[in-house]
Symmetry: C3
Subunit: 383 residues, 3 copies
Amino acid sequence: MWMDTKTEAEEARRKHASLSQRVLNSLLSCTGDMVHLDKYMDDKWFVLQLAVWGLRGVARVILANNPLCGALILAALYWASPWQGLLGTLGVLTSTLTAVIMGQDSAEVSAGLHGFNGMLVSLLMGVFSSAGDWYWWLLLPVCLGSATCVFLFSGLAPVLDRWDLPVAVFPFNIIIVLYLLCTGHDNPYFPHHNAIPPGALEPNGTELIAVEVLRGIPLGVGQIFACGALGPSILILGAVVLYSPLLAVHAVLGSAVGTLAGLSVAVRHDSLYTGLSGFNGALGCMAVGGLFFTFSWRTHLYAIASAFLSAYSDIALRNLLGTVGLPACSWAATLTATLMLLLNGSLAAYRIPIGQVRAPEDNLRSRSQWEAGNTADRESTDV
Amino acid sequence: MWMDTKTEAEEARRKHASLSQRVLNSLLSCTGDMVHLDKYMDDKWFVLQLAVWGLRGVARVILANNPLCGALILAALYWASPWQGLLGTLGVLTSTLTAVIMGQDSAEVSAGLHGFNGMLVSLLMGVFSSAGDWYWWLLLPVCLGSATCVFLFSGLAPVLDRWDLPVAVFPFNIIIVLYLLCTGHDNPYFPHHNAIPPGALEPNGTELIAVEVLRGIPLGVGQIFACGALGPSILILGAVVLYSPLLAVHAVLGSAVGTLAGLSVAVRHDSLYTGLSGFNGALGCMAVGGLFFTFSWRTHLYAIASAFLSAYSDIALRNLLGTVGLPACSWAATLTATLMLLLNGSLAAYRIPIGQVRAPEDNLRSRSQWEAGNTADRESTDV
Amino acid sequence: MWMDTKTEAEEARRKHASLSQRVLNSLLSCTGDMVHLDKYMDDKWFVLQLAVWGLRGVARVILANNPLCGALILAALYWASPWQGLLGTLGVLTSTLTAVIMGQDSAEVSAGLHGFNGMLVSLLMGVFSSAGDWYWWLLLPVCLGSATCVFLFSGLAPVLDRWDLPVAVFPFNIIIVLYLLCTGHDNPYFPHHNAIPPGALEPNGTELIAVEVLRGIPLGVGQIFACGALGPSILILGAVVLYSPLLAVHAVLGSAVGTLAGLSVAVRHDSLYTGLSGFNGALGCMAVGGLFFTFSWRTHLYAIASAFLSAYSDIALRNLLGTVGLPACSWAATLTATLMLLLNGSLAAYRIPIGQVRAPEDNLRSRSQWEAGNTADRESTDV
């Protein structure tokens, strides 16, 4: 009896263990780049494939590459504003479809590389439009702008490829600036708000509220998707944690650095409260800390430097472009990340070739495997 | 007798036929790139050679490469304004001569590649000058500006050559912007008009006149030479027809697309009436539709996309540069055409290497010959 | 006796001759690049090495590469304003140290290539600051800005290297513009003066004073270090003479050309008097006349053309950037020199590869040696 009870308990424990193992495994399989999904999707319907490509595109905006993470972000956007969610969905689908029609490389399309620029263009068109939500005419420039992103992506790729640089969000930044310049502030069909430079004088000398500044840090992560609500911003951050906790840490760190940079040159309080000061820092920090470079304490320091550089450049560019009412979008972070990728010296040793970039944790693992292999190799040669 | 009459009639007919054949042949030999002229000119006087190089340069402005076409265009410019015609002639000759003195590649010089930027700089300097016609001091900056174009052409060539891109009118666009910035609006020696951005408010809410808008379409072709009169514009279009009817169709189509783009964002009526909204569209459409790409229905669609992109970018750039009183010249079309040449995907298959670009009709012929050759080759290999 | 006196006199003469020979030799060894110093410094203390690297960096600003020349210039700066001298010293040391920490190429560091951008950023931050001298908080952006120059230098190098171009002062120009944009005119922590465009109207119609204009020519050489006093400017010019008399001649010539260009478009008198119109011309002239190209009458003509182009571009850029209160720094000269290095045709034959650039006199000598070697080679081959 005693034996029996023991074995039964063991069996139950084993069952439980295998269940929790299975749950953990299936959970783990949802993190990182989810490469296994690609093989599974190969023979599925086109609509389903397109959905996965689109969700990857949504996640790509925040440097992740995971459809589940994309779905969470999309949910956050619909939560913040259904109209913005709709625009984003339309943008990512239009540009992915345009890429398919234009015969772009299918590996690029299925990795979501042709979706994220279109999504950002659509979201920003919606945010800057002063015609209010559900202004259906806006879908016209949204579709056109998203489609044009594919042209710019495809055209910039061979130029940047010479130095093994990613196209990143250059197309989005160019298209949104051109769109806002094209229509102007008081356009009869597509009116939009003017961006206010962060160096502009405050209307009245108000005191800085510390809590609001701290609230701006998670909002800085949400502002990458032009989302200014706290709940959805935290959900977006959660989506990044799902993809890679290391990336999420750098996102928050970068946003904090950006806020600090903003404080140091006394930007408008609004800019701090809404998280607009933080999001370029977050992007600059994420790109260097673990994504394009293997994580180590050295790349971590460079990531902080990159965050500061992004944040200060962003303030400078917003002051410059603000003189003609334009936003600086993510020009600063994109240029800074590109600069960091070009650096030689001690940082270059950690550089991961663009084609082999995975989630930070995977990068770290493949590096240590590669180094172990190298050592083993050397040992076997020695013998 | 009956036989005799018949043979006589036949003879007359044959004579007539051979005459019309000869006329047709000599007419046909005036179309396209007139490559045969180069051999004929080899041992002629330098002045005569320079004239042909200059005329090729004049035609190059509108993407043609035919001295006769250049002569027609020059006539149109003298018709529109003798002063502008003189400035254009001086510009094209100065920059071609500078290229000879600076030891530039003789094949480039004789193809007129060093003339068109100088010509455009001179014409635009004349148009923007507010000192009136026959202000002889203007010849000084005209000569200096035209000569500087050769420096920029020669310096930009190795950079753009890495991606097999043409230098196009980048030198002109840079020089004219620098000149206008250098002298400023109220310069005591070289005063000039400020450009008005197309998004500026109308003085009073006037109705749009449809006929004037339609008139703006052929004017858009003339505006490539900064010519705003209808007669000369049509003569310029005629010169393009002489070089290549396909190119002329795309010019008109592009100008129409540009006007449509202008209407869609409600630009100032003036901008539509004068053809200023159309000329960037025309250039963008011509570059893609047949010139740098073999003509097909697919390149035709891309040409229309290129026209739209050029036209919208032009409005955006004019709104931006207009805030400091500068014109956007042909920046938009030049950048768009460069982007199109960089595209990969389905358009890249039609790309013609820059060194082999001829008139669209010749491009089409050499492609089909090449393909026929390829097929024959494959067949012979199969056997 | 007679013999004795003669030999004694001869001995004395010989002694005197050998002394003067030695003095001359040691004087000559202080001109040019002082390459022999590098070997001598190899096993010295780091602080001493750093000092030499820093002094080379100071001289690099004016295209010289000689620590003694750097010491003279630093003395001139301390003479003009001790605060500016301190900022310059701090800037050059910070950026050189940052380069060491970041693991940049040691040959580059010891050649002073990582010092001059940091120095210029510091000097300009000091000049534009409106908080007055000895405002210690300024050391914060000075250190940060100088350190960032190393990032930009290291990042731009691989891009420009594709065309064998030097990074030159691009990092300085970018950083100072970003800094001024970031802080803005009325920043509470780091306020600064706005730059006045040279095309702005004079406050009242004053007469041009010829002596003041002539005085602006040597001041133009000093303005390369943002120094507006006559004495120090002449000392700086003297330092350039020590490095290479040919370079000094081109500096004065270029400054004169810049002043002439300023006169031709009627810039503000202030701009002429302070030498601000001259310094871009001086830099453009020096780069082409002997430094990056072997000296000859042809490169001399190109140097004058380069000076004119630099000067006119500078006026244009200052008018453009002045609309938002920004200075044009040395953008014009840097861009023009880059353009000149890209030129093909007759100038390209005189081009010296970037890695082999020495003082103009050495360039000339090594070229003639190389040519003599080539001739000897050919002769020996012929035989």
